[in-house]
Amino acid sequence: MSLWFWVVAAVAVAYATKLSGYLLPRRLLDRPVVVRMATGLTIGLLASLTILNTVGKGQAIVLDSRLLALAAAAVALSLKAPYLVVVLVGALAAALGRLAGLP
């Protein structure tokens, strides 16, 4: 299946999810368990994506300059840097690592 298909499918479902909260009867969705699940799911997915982008390379675990990016971003975040600065710090750390000859 082409990438376009999945782009369109993801776009459609994202909108349907948003709309469902307005249209479905409240008793279906407005339960503590649904809210808790959504909160947990969000944290779990973002944590997984973070580590995946840090050490994943296809099916292999590769330790390289992306670890520097993770550490640098964590420092920037703990210093309450704005989001865009955090992203730039991450890029800078990885780029400097490669400049220094690290993988």
Binding site: W6, A9, A10, G21, L23, L45, N53, A60, P82, V87
Partner: protein
């Protein structure tokens, strides 16, 4: 002009200015992950929920299939449905604005609306943040996508490091308290453990499933979340 700004519109505008520009990083990372400039812009225009957009391109960039990217983006979008419920309760929007309001229902517009105490202010906060971010996010996505297209090898510019930072930046504000941190650690460990044995893109979904089970189990034990 100053008199036209209420606390809610002022908050909405500041949030829009702060958040809207990071569409640049999404645009650049998206073309770096292998999506075209058009596909990248379609995601920002029509999906319009940063976390899911980053998830989609993150899975594709990691070699995952379109189906895995779809699933990760969809699961990460579930929280928007929950936001919609609380906004519907708080604002009670007329039916004709619901289709547009749904599209603008994201982390930031919800936060701006729920931070207000007065009904009209909530409405103003929602629309100011939602429309403001929509315009800036899409403009900056295009800028980032064109720039990402022009710079060539993403690794040399540390763009893979930018992706790491982008995800950590989305995760960080949600790590308030011990349980969310434990949850994030469990999810990261599961991801690393299954990474070598399942196809690319699937570890995220395994981690999501494990996370949900763990969260539900915590709840059963009566631990506070």
């Amino acid at each position: 002009m100053r008199t036209a700004l209420t606390p809610a519109t002022r908050m909405g505008l500041s949030i829009a200015a702060a958040v809207g520009v990071y569409g640049v990083s999404f645009g650049a990372l998206s073309v770096g992950s292998g999506l075209s400039v058009l596909q990248t812009c379609i995601l920002s225009l029509l999906m319009f929920t940063g976390g899911s957009q980053f998830a989609f391109i993150g899975v594709i960039g990691g070699g995952g299939t379109g189906a895995a990217a779809w699933a990760a983006a969809t699961l990460l979008g579930v929280r928007n449905g929950v936001y919609a419920i609380s906004l519907k309760t708080l604002i009670e929007p007329p039916g004709r604005v619901v289709p547009l309001m749904a599209h603008l229902t994201i982390d930031e517009s919800t936060a701006t609306a729920t931070a207000q105490t007065d009904h009209d202010e909530r409405v103003r906060g929602f629309w100011t943040a939602g429309v403001g971010i929509y315009l800036l996010w899409n403009a900056s996505t295009l800028v980032g996508a064109l720039a990402g297209d022009a710079i060539g090898d993403p690794r040399r510019w540390g763009l893979d490091g930018a992706a790491v930072a982008a995800f950590l930046g989305l995760l960080w504000p949600r790590l308030k308290g011990r349980d969310p941190v434990a949850l994030a650690v469990v999810s990261a460990l599961v991801t690393v453990m299954v990474l070598p044995v399942v196809p690319p893109g699937i570890p995220v979904l395994v981690a999501a499933a494990a996370t949900t089970v763990w969260w539900a189990w915590q709840h059963r034990r009566g631990l506070r979340t």
